[in-house]
């Protein structure tokens, strides 16, 4: 569905400064996949998506999207993809139903088909009661659902979502995702999204592509990434001051590595955190070592990012201000 090879994109900020927003991204996505591009702001994920959706031309490299080259046949690519950008696709001065019908007409539906499709989508995205409203009168969550509806009008085989749930409260996010996942299941759609929400990439995507400084630094399922690159962690404290006997017990747990001692606190990576704790406690009782507290941490994608880059995603977010992608309008709600 997508075959990108060594895509790069430079932005000339001034005569002396060029930002290399994307520095060579190669990516293959098969039909039916649900892939999240995860990375901090300014990592290059949005720029990558904008190249794949024909909005901007790559500086070098090639990409075939839905069977067509993004540079040589942008019109064909546009016909076969749906796109939900960071802003609102629906014009604020327009009415909800009108915009959906216009969108249908743009994609070649005749008047009757466009009406029917608009009604179907209004129904499936719980927008029927708002059909006559002006887009500017909708709430953020409603407007986002409309944006998704707009992207789905022509039942595209491939849907791009650029930060779909940014700015939505948790309830609206969950609701939006219910809709997206249902539509995807019905239409056997390939979905590619960008996000900087860890939990979103973790829970929704079947494949997570981590992007940092314009390059792909990891690409796998969230579970595999966590197992491979982070692993479960346990943190235990000794009841007394000396943690060394406890550390020796921790060291014997299956898959234990990176055992570190800090005062009475012992931290380590293990193969299976929840299973390791009871085992450790049993061993501690047998050896007469007293344990104060015990916790198992299952890894998050942030731990993966930390392992890969030496910094957490939150730190990376604050690194900005990257003059990055001038079109990335963070000021738009």
């Amino acid at each position: 569905m997508i075959d990108a090879r060594s895509l790069t994109r430079d932005f000339v900020v001034s005569r002396s400064q060029t930002v290399h927003a994307v520095r060579g991204i190669s990516l293959r996505i098969e039909p039916g996949e649900l892939v999240a591009l995860l990375g901090p702001n300014g990592a290059g994920k949005t720029t990558t998506m904008r190249m794949l959706t024909t909005l901007i031309a790559p500086t070098s490299g090639t990409a075939t999207v839905a069977g067509h080259d993004v540079v040589r046949a942008p019109g064909q690519v546009r016909r076969h993809i749906g796109y939900v950008g960071q802003g609102n696709g629906a014009g604020h001065t327009q009415r909800v139903r009108d915009e959906l019908r216009t969108q249908g007409a743009i994609y070649g539906l005749d008047r009757r088909a466009a009406r029917r499709r608009a009604d179907d989508l209004l129904d499936s995205l719980d927008l029927t009661d708002l059909a006559g409203r002006k887009v500017s009168a909708l709430s953020g969550g409603q407007r986002r659902r409309l944006d998704v509806a707009m992207g789905l009008v022509h039942a595209p085989p491939l849907l791009f979502l650029d930060e779909p749930s940014t700015g939505l409260d948790p309830q609206n996010r969950a609701n939006l995702w219910d809709h997206i996942l249902r539509m995807r299941a019905e239409a056997a759609m390939t979905v590619v999204l960008t996000t900087h929400y860890l939990d979103e990439a973790d829970s929704m995507a079947e494949r997570v592509v981590i992007v940092d400084h314009g390059e792909i630094i990891a690409d796998d399922s969230a579970a595999a990434l966590k197992a491979k690159l982070a692993g479960d962690r346990i943190v235990v404290t000794a009841a007394g001051d000396d943690a060394r006997p406890l550390a020796r017990l921790v060291d014997r747990l299956p898959g234990a590595r990176d055992v570190s001692c800090d005062g009475s606190r012992v931290e380590a990576h293990v193969a299976d955190g929840p299973a390791a704790l009871p085992e450790l406690l049993r061993a501690a009782v047998e050896a007469g070592v007293r344990v104060g507290t015990a916790q198992a941490h299952q890894p998050t994608l942030d731990d993966v990012f930390l392992t890969l880059t030496g910094r957490s995603l939150r730190e990376a977010e604050q690194e900005t201000p990257v003059p990055q992608d001038p079109q990335t309008r963070k000021d738009v709600p």
Binding site: T53, H92, T102, A105, I106
Partner: protein, 279 residues
Amino acid sequence: MTTISATAPSPTPAPQGTRSGPLGLLRDTGIVLTRELRPLLHDPFSVIFGMIQPLVFLGLFGPLLVGSLGGQAGTTLGDGGVWQWFVPAILVMTALFGTSTTGANLLFEFQTGAHERMLVAPLSRPSLLVGRALKEMVPLAGQAVIIVLVMIPFGFRLYPVGALVGLALLAVFGVGLGALSYALAIAVRKQDWMFWVVQQTLIFPLMLLSGMLLPLDTGPGWMRVAAHFNPLAYLVDAERALFAGDLGSTTVLWGWVAALVTAAVGLTVGVRAMARSAD
């Protein structure tokens, strides 16, 4: 909900032959135009509001013209008197203000994201420019009818064929100007206040140097020379000829040349700007 996929078009819609070429451009322009007109339909007040400026000029500037230039009818102003001279100019002015501000609407759609969605859609690029510019011409046609009806009692003579050709000529010019306005909006999109600075700085000299409000014949020589380089001056002259029922004169021909050149330059610049607008 399997009905969704059942009623949906197949992922590779069959009727794509009409998409490219002039027919595709026409179809896409129609879509963009219809979309742009919808808010006007729902909110006719904005059209009425658009009527105010030409009526203010007719009501408050026209009488001054009658007072100061009335005696020159037959010489500077042609045969038809002040109103015959001024009404076509007012229509040009309305078109000028309408189309030169289309970029501002675009800036808004830039900020909300609607423009981006149109760019990702399979619409021919020029249609995005032409459709938006033509949207200004539809209310203008209505305004022209009202202005003409209001002015007939004051001695304005209507030549319907000339007037219709005049509106068509104005539409061609408007497409060019609208496209340039669009290109300006793209160029200044990161400091959007610049749009108005540039638009106002350009529009008033263009307007005054076209002989739209006052005849240039009484002005200094350099102004008349400058007017020779102002496409708008040719357009205004041509509109005056057309509204006087004079369809075949060289003045009209030069008006078409000015309008077509403006349209060609505008569309070229506009389409280029658009290709870079997502950068």
